[in-house]
């Protein structure tokens, strides 16, 4: 069946300064179709969609909706033409209700009153029709991330969107929420909506899309039907070369360096038992929000246990002290690198030495030894392949992957005895993931005890020696990674581990 595509992007080009973000890209979308736009960070996906939605004006090229050209640079025109955009960073207001968020801008601005009754009715109808359940009077800030995304989608549908653009829709979702989202998207397509979603995750592209367009370096390099391709091919197309994630080699664990017996912290962690040996990696798998943050804080010295025994190198920890932990040789990769890992507006060298700036190595007579600090950060940049890592550049200008490499490097330069890696590859693209994994494995090989906290099953299974699941602030008994299967781990992540055989019992 041939018909006019509902959406066409023809020869779109856009240049920002020296970078050609989009280079003559053409894409079309049919009614009821789900197209995935696959590409690494910086491939030009978001730029392309921002042009489509009127946030940017292209240098050349046109956007046609149902054969009619869209005026450039006008979000309202795109909305009126039936294009809805679900942004990666939600454009919601936490302090307003769901209904208020949805209704903003939908009525004539200078009306005497707002017809909330009609708005509520319409919202409920849409929510019913597409199975997107939501309480219209809930304050958006009180909703979970998955629910907030539902509100974003509803907002687009409320504007009668026929074409829905989703920018990295699963970036902030847990695996389970993400799977629900794919199902919803498929269902919406079956009901006649047309969707484009942007992603750099191979499995979700294969799971949710009919057709995949691969972007690389601002060019559309390939187009495949989802059923005619596989992960390996897509990965190669996306990165431009063959990438393989490294896998751990066998190792002989040494002495116990970290141990917890019956440790509780506030209401977040209850009765934890775990043990970590030198040269070994313990994977903590779980859906985020189950106490991982507090666990990372505990081992980083940001909080102290309220109950139980927590020992580092055999010495009990009773008081929260970050400095003491760093002195003991604990390296940390925080889960939110922008909030806790780096200070965006400070330079790379400042960020590189910040946690050790009081040591005699980087300060003399109360003054920062800039020479030593700069030398250290240049070495770090070189050794850990931080691209664009001029020591005097502000760190926020680095891409996520390079910022993560810098944070990793800052910790690994001094051969830490314990490394806590919390969600180390969240939001990174395939190439950067492989690099980060290799570095973490290297640290393990050098004898560091690694605590890997992650919600990515593949990551934990391929890197960790033993795995414990975290659910509701409790830890499961450990299982050997060699013997773990994803199904069992999935159950354990849901808190069901009564019939799990602990790894060290036999």
């Amino acid at each position: 069946m041939t018909q006019t595509p509902v959406l066409e992007l023809i020869g779109i080009s856009k240049r920002f300064g020296d970078t050609q973000a989009n280079d003559d890209i053409s894409i079309s979308l049919d009614k009821g179709e789900v197209v995935a736009l696959l590409g690494e960070n910086g491939a030009g996906k978001t730029t392309l969609m921002s042009i489509l939605f009127g946030h940017y004006t292209p240098d050349s090229g046109v956007v046609k909706v149902a054969g009619v050209e869209l005026p450039q640079g006008k979000p309202r025109a795109a909305i009126n033409a039936g294009v809805g955009m679900v942004h990666q960073h939600f454009s919601l207001s936490a302090n307003l209700t769901v209904l208020e968020n949805v209704m903003t801008g939908t009525e004539r601005l200078f009306r005497l009153g707002s017809n909330t009754r009609a708005g509520r009715k319409k919202l409920m109808e849409i929510s019913e029709r597409f199975g997107l359940k939501v309480d219209p009077d809930a304050r958006v800030g009180d909703l979970s991330v998955g629910e907030q995304q539902r509100v974003e989608i509803l907002k687009a549908l409320y504007n009668d969107a026929q074409i829905l653009i989703l920018d990295e829709p699963t970036a902030v979702l847990t695996n389970i929420e993400a799977e629900k989202l794919y199902a919803t998207l498929r269902e919406m397509a079956a009901k006649g909506l047309s969707l484009i979603f942007i992603s750099h995750k191979l499995h979700e592209v294969l799971a949710a899309a009919d057709r995949v367009v691969v972007l690389r370096g601002g060019k559309a390099v390939a187009e495949r039907k989802a059923k005619d391709t596989d992960r390996a091919e897509l990965a190669e197309l996306m990165v431009g070369r063959r990438v393989a994630r490294p896998v751990r080699e066998a190792s002989t664990p040494g002495a116990v360096v970290l141990s917890a017996r019956g440790v509780s912290v506030g209401t977040k962690l209850t009765d934890l038992d775990f043990e970590l040996r030198a040269g070994e990696m313990l994977g903590i798998i779980g859906v985020s929000g189950n106490g991982q943050t507090t666990l990372a804080h505990l081992v980083s010295g940001l909080v102290a246990p309220d109950d139980g025994t927590f020992e580092v190198f055999g010495e009990p920890v009773t008081r929260a002290s970050v400095t003491a932990m760093i002195e003991k040789g604990v390296g940390r990769i925080p889960e939110d690198r922008n909030a806790e890992g780096a200070i965006g507006d400070m330079t790379i060298w400042e960020n590189a030495v910040l946690e050790r700036v009081f040591s005699s190595r980087f300060s003399k007579a109360g003054l920062v030894d800039r020479q030593a600090a700069r030398t250290f950060s240049s070495q770090l940049v070189e050794r850990f392949d931080v691209r664009g890592g001029d020591p005097d550049k502000r760190i926020r200008l680095l891409s996520g992957g390079n910022m993560q490499k810098l944070i990793l490097g800052r910790n690994l330069m001094d051969d830490p005895k314990i490394l806590i890696a919390a969600q180390p590859t969240r939001g990174l693209d395939e190439g950067a993931i492989a690099a980060v994994h290799a570095r973490i494995l290297q640290a393990r090989k050098a004898g560091a005890a690694v605590l890997l906290i992650s919600e990515d099953l593949d990551e934990v299974i391929s890197l960790a020696d033993r795995i414990q699941a975290i659910a509701g602030g409790r830890l499961s008994p450990p299982v050997d990674a060699d013997k773990a299967d994803p199904r069992q781990l999935g159950l354990m992540m849901a808190g069901d581990w009564d019939d799990v055989e602990p790894a060290h019992a036999h």
């Binding site: 454009s91 919601l92 207001s93 936490a94 302090n95 903003t104 707002s114």
Partner: protein, 312 residues
């Protein structure tokens, strides 16, 4: 007269409404600006200029309401200056606001000195007179306590209710709130955050101007340079106290005015201590009230964050 008698006097309650009026206008003005995401510390200067220009308009032969309109107009003009600097240009809202306060205050004194010859006692005008409301104003106690005010006071109270309606019940109010919470979200919904912010700051600043004009056209009958006396800053605090809600702003202004009216009368009762101690009284109580109220306040999320298109 002892402390109990102060409460029983109708004069106290009449004074509360009178003292509250400039605060009501100023607080509503600041609140409107902040709801759109712009802190306007120009308020102190804009109130001073409003007081001066309102008075000068009437002094040079204008009608009292023309004086109010002039104050609103020039308030909006200073608002436009603040908005242009902070919204499209994205300058620091603190620094710009304080600059506007210094500029508007100094300009007020300058224009006043140019227009009015130096005299030992400042020239006066005939201010607004209390409105006599048949059936209400002649009630015993309640008449003088509540119904012996001038027109702008009633206008201020009505305005608080009106602004609450606009903010919470109209599409425009929703657009203003959305802009103050997440301008990128507003933009994505087809609302122009820059226009909303400029409009809200101009309207809010017009209200500040009117608040200043009340001082010279109703509360007193002459202008002197220091007459605003920090009321603008009180308004900024009252916005926080009110959790950015017009109804609570009205209550907050009345509460502060009550403390103020009370301390004025307390000065007469207790004579042994220097009266300056009583001047501190309303401010101390305000800080205490702020501590209690503001801890629960939901600050507009994008307050003081400049909006730049296409940037996050």
């Amino acid at each position: 007269m002892d402390v109990i008698e102060i409460f029983a006097s109708a004069g106290l309650w009449g004074a509360v409404l009178r003292i509250a009026t400039p605060l009501i206008f100023g607080t509503l003005g600041a609140l409107l600006c902040e709801r759109s995401g712009v802190l306007n510390l120009g308020i102190e200067g804009i109130m001073t200029f409003g007081a001066m220009i309102g008075w000068l308009t009437v002094y040079s032969g204008g009608d009292l309401w023309t004086g109010i309109m002039a104050a609103a107009f020039f308030g909006a003009l200073f608002g436009l200056l603040h908005a242009v600097l902070t919204v499209p240009l994205g300058l620091s809202q603190h620094v710009t606001g304080l600059g506007i306060t210094l500029f508007a205050s100094s300009l007020s004194y300058y224009i006043f000195r140019l227009s009015v010859p130096l005299a030992s006692s400042p020239p006066t005008i005939t201010p607004f007179q209390p409105i006599f409301i048949p059936g209400l104003s002649d009630l015993p106690f309640f008449g003088p306590a509540l119904f012996s005010q001038t027109a702008p006071t009633y206008l201020g109270i009505a305005l608080a209710l009106g602004l609450a309606y606009v903010i919470f019940r109209t599409p425009l109010g929703l657009a203003i709130r959305m802009t103050g919470e997440n301008p990128h979200g507003a933009e994505a919904q087809g609302v122009n955050p820059i226009a909303v912010r400029i409009g809200a700051v101009m309207a809010g600043s017009a209200l500040m101007g009117v608040g200043g004009a009340f001082l010279t056209l109703s509360a007193f009958n002459s202008f002197f340079p220091t007459m605003v006396q920090g009321r603008g800053w009180v308004c900024i605090a009252l916005v926080v106290f009110a959790s950015w809600r017009p109804g609570r702003a009205l209550l907050g202004a009345l509460l502060f005015a009550f403390f103020d009216a009370f301390q004025l009368r307390l000065q007469n009762v207790i004579g042994a201590i220097p009266y300056q101690i009583f001047l501190m009284f309303p401010y101390l109580l305000s800080i205490a009230a702020l501590v209690v109220m503001a801890r629960r306040a939901r600050v507009p999320q994008a307050l003081m964050q400049p909006y730049r298109r296409g940037e996050r």
